[in-house]
Subunit: 153 residues, 2 copies
């Protein structure tokens, strides 16, 4: 997996809304991606985080995990989100984080096995929305990876 | 319901991410809100619309309908999103719209009746994501309204 500065630069360059949101890549390993964003650019009429920003940060954390882990494993893929659910459990009055964790290696192995054989595969990932160390919401999304070429090498 | 210029100004002032996204209020009636956004500030690594932007525009369209319709009917409320689902049916390679429609007056009446009696009520709204006149995705969200004061007058 690339280092967080390279990932940060990629995300800012290719998804400009992440710059407007003030997204920072805090942690990026094959099993965990943590993104953060400050309140100010993501504030709403209630002086808490806009649901659209919370949702976008979660989508971005799950996408970052799948995109950069696949890239690190040598797959030339495009990764897009197919669908998601999002629960907003409480108002967020300050900076917030989206934490996407993949703790099921068997799920990843099945995903990449299908991707290798069928050139396309889906994976379901969760991301928790956090504020001040407490859970503030939960995202679950299905991401689809499709090979750019017939050979993933 | 307020006119679209007033609503546009409110949204831009209170939810700054809408400015970064280039959100325009195209239509706003008690039964329909249409918001649009251009591709450029919402682009992703695939040169199509970032899922987070698509999701945010849908959330904003449903919120705008409920917030401004309640305000127009004299309710002093705060309106927040509680949860949502979002399906991204196809890539969006250009400007896009979120169209939130409330075509069930009985649903609205039940919502405001409960809001008046219990000071808090939920309503489920859909918004379709559109591009070039075609459907590109579907949002369904639950919004919660809570009275600011005991009397809605």
């Amino acid at each position: 997996m690339k280092d967080i500065h390279t990932i940060q630069q990629y995300v800012l360059t290719h998804i400009p809304l992440s710059g407007a949101m003030g997204v920072q890549v805090e942690e990026a390993t094959p099993n965990k991606v943590v993104l953060s964003a400050p309140l100010a650019p993501n504030i709403n009429h209630r002086d808490t985080v806009f649901g659209g920003s919370a949702s976008a940060l979660c989508i971005l954390s799950a996408w970052t995990l799948v995109h950069f882990r696949l890239e690190g494993e040598g797959y030339g893929c495009r990764v897009v989100i197919q669908n998601n659910t999002m629960a907003y459990d409480r108002p967020i009055p300050e900076g917030f984080k989206a934490v996407s964790i993949l703790d099921d290696e068997a799920k990843w192995e099945k995903f990449t096995r299908i991707l290798s054989s069928r050139k396309k595969a889906r994976i379901v990932l969760n991301a928790s929305l956090e504020c001040g160390g407490k859970k503030a919401g939960l995202f679950e999304g299905t991401l689809v990876a499709a090979m750019r070429s017939a050979s993933p090498e």
